[in-house]
């Protein structure tokens, strides 16, 4: 088969199948002595499949007993040749020996699972491996690209040149310029005129109002009426400080009946 040439490391077993000369014999030496090429086998199942094929019947009809004998014979010969066998070959041998002895027992003495079942499962596995091996061979024998059929070695290739059409509106340009100018124009910082009542003016105002009467006056009443909230807060703060200052100078006295209660102020008679 032509695909053999493509397969590396394959023992020459496909042809040998027609002429079974013993075990896995890729050939014989001049003396006719067999030699084994265990490297070529892909494990015990591979050996079993090859042995089964040599029965020259459909894989569904193979004799498992004959197969077991052939496998055990294969291993015996390997031992004679003092070949080192991988453990899985020996495990398979032990299992097959067990299978053979079970199959030779009268039916009623057979254990569960029955040897027939084990034999059938082995057969099914060999069929599957055999099917895939055949499929692989058929696949490899197809007209393969680069071996049997060829594409153009160096096609020109299809090129798509992408060009960009840039889009921008007149207004965008003008607006962008405006924003650049606005952003980078020298900035002049001006502090806003905030409505405040200075301490001096609060002192003047509170002193003047205290001079009018000897009664207690609530601090709020010193504030300018109708003042906007900001000015009012400022006036409250400066009037409070002014009241403290007047109290310190002995010109006024302060009273508060409860925490956060209204703060009252009265002139001290000189």
């Amino acid at each position: 088969m032509s695909e053999d040439a493509l397969i590396l490391g394959q023992p020459d077993t496909a042809q040998a199948g027609d002429d079974w000369q013993g075990i896995a014999a890729p050939g014989t030496t001049d003396q006719g002595a067999l030699y084994l090429a265990l490297d070529g086998w892909e494990g015990p199942l591979d050996v079993l499949l090859d042995l089964a094929r040599r029965q020259k019947v459909d894989l569904r009809q193979i004799s498992i007993l004959a197969l077991v004998d052939q496998y055990l014979g294969f291993l015996d010969r390997a031992k004679e040749l003092k070949l080192e066998l991988a453990a899985d070959y020996l495990v398979m041998a032990a299992w097959l020996a067990y299978l053979k002895s079970a199959m030779l027992l009268p039916k009623e003495e057979q254990e569960d699972p029955s040897p027939e079942e084990l034999a059938l499962r082995l057969q099914l596995r060999l069929q599957r491996l055999g099917a895939m091996r055949e499929a692989a061979a058929r696949l490899m024998a197809r007209d393969r690209l680069g071996r049997d059929v060829f594409v153009r070695p160096s096609p020109e290739g299809l090129r798509i040149d992408r060009t960009t059409q840039w889009k921008c509106e007149w207004f965008d340009v003008v607006q962008a310029y405006g924003q650049v100018k606005a952003r980078t124009a020298p900035a002049v910082h001006m502090v806003r005129d905030r409505p405040v009542m200075t301490l001096d003016s609060a002192l003047d105002r509170v002193s003047a109002m205290l001079g009018v009467t000897l009664d207690w006056i609530a601090l709020e009443d010193f504030l300018p009426p109708h003042a906007e909230p900001q000015l009012r807060r400022s006036a409250m703060a400066s009037s409070f400080v002014a009241a403290l200052e007047l109290a310190r100078l002995g010109k006024a006295e302060m009273a508060q009946e409860e925490i956060f209660g209204p703060l009252r102020l009265r002139r001290i008679r000189a």
Binding site: E42, D46, D88, R121
Partner: protein, 216 residues
């Protein structure tokens, strides 16, 4: 077809001739400035017919079209040095198992082959561009599963996986089913309530069956 091909046929011909890669109908339609996919498909059919008996063929592989030399002329074209990657026997078997069973996990491949798969085997197939990881199987361990690629179909001259040699027969005869399924089918699972425990027992006896059980 007539001796004077129409413009669309000529355009498809030229495009596929110059393309570095096989092209789908859609890719062709897009490249040809939005030709109707139906027209392109019909054009490809006509062209494939025209080239049928020539030294060049127009072929479809995995839904993508390309020109290649006629297979029967292999003998005059085969190069001194084959450009085809040489695969080991393990490589060809693993490739076949993936192609006929895809998607499959490594354990499932090993269950069929009865041996462990060398690390390099799958790598070689993936490097060749014939096999790819196709996700994970949602079973304990979440094993990676493998499938073939469009390049695989192109290389082996297959229009689709349905063209895999003998796949219908293999499927019909149950040879693509796992051993356990085939066993149950053969023995009739209904009258064999112990079938499950049996298979576990046999798994213990035959070391290689463990892998098969893992896979299932």
């Amino acid at each position: 077809m007539s001796e004077t091909p129409d413009d669309l046929h000529r355009a498809i011909e030229a495009t596929l001739f110059a393309s570095e890669e096989p092209m789908t109908v859609d890719a062709l339609a897009t490249h040809l400035g939005g030709a109707a996919a139906g027209d392109v498909r019909e054009g490809l059919r006509v062209l494939a017919g025209h080239y049928e008996k020539r030294g060049i063929s127009l072929v479809e592989r995995a839904g993508r079209w390309h020109f290649q030399t006629a297979p029967d002329l292999a003998h005059i074209l085969r190069r001194e040095q084959e450009q085809v990657r040489r695969l080991s026997r393990a490589g060809t078997e693993v490739l076949a198992i993936i192609a006929y069973h895809e998607p499959v996990s490594r354990a499932e491949i090993e269950a069929i082959r009865g041996v462990q798969t060398a690390k390099g085997t799958l790598d070689v197939l993936m490097e060749a561009g014939w096999v790819r990881a196709a996700g994970r199987r949602e079973v304990p361990g979440r094993p990676v599963i493998y499938a073939t690629t469009p390049d695989f179909l192109a290389h082996f001259g297959l229009a689709s996986r349905r063209d895999l040699p003998g796949i219908d027969e293999l499927r019909a005869s149950g040879l693509l089913d796992p051993v356990d399924d085939a066993y149950d089918a053969l023995t009739g699972e209904a009258d064999d309530p112990d079938a499950t425990s049996d298979s576990v027992t046999s798994g213990e006896l035959a070391p290689n069956d463990e892998q098969a059980d893992d896979a299932l």
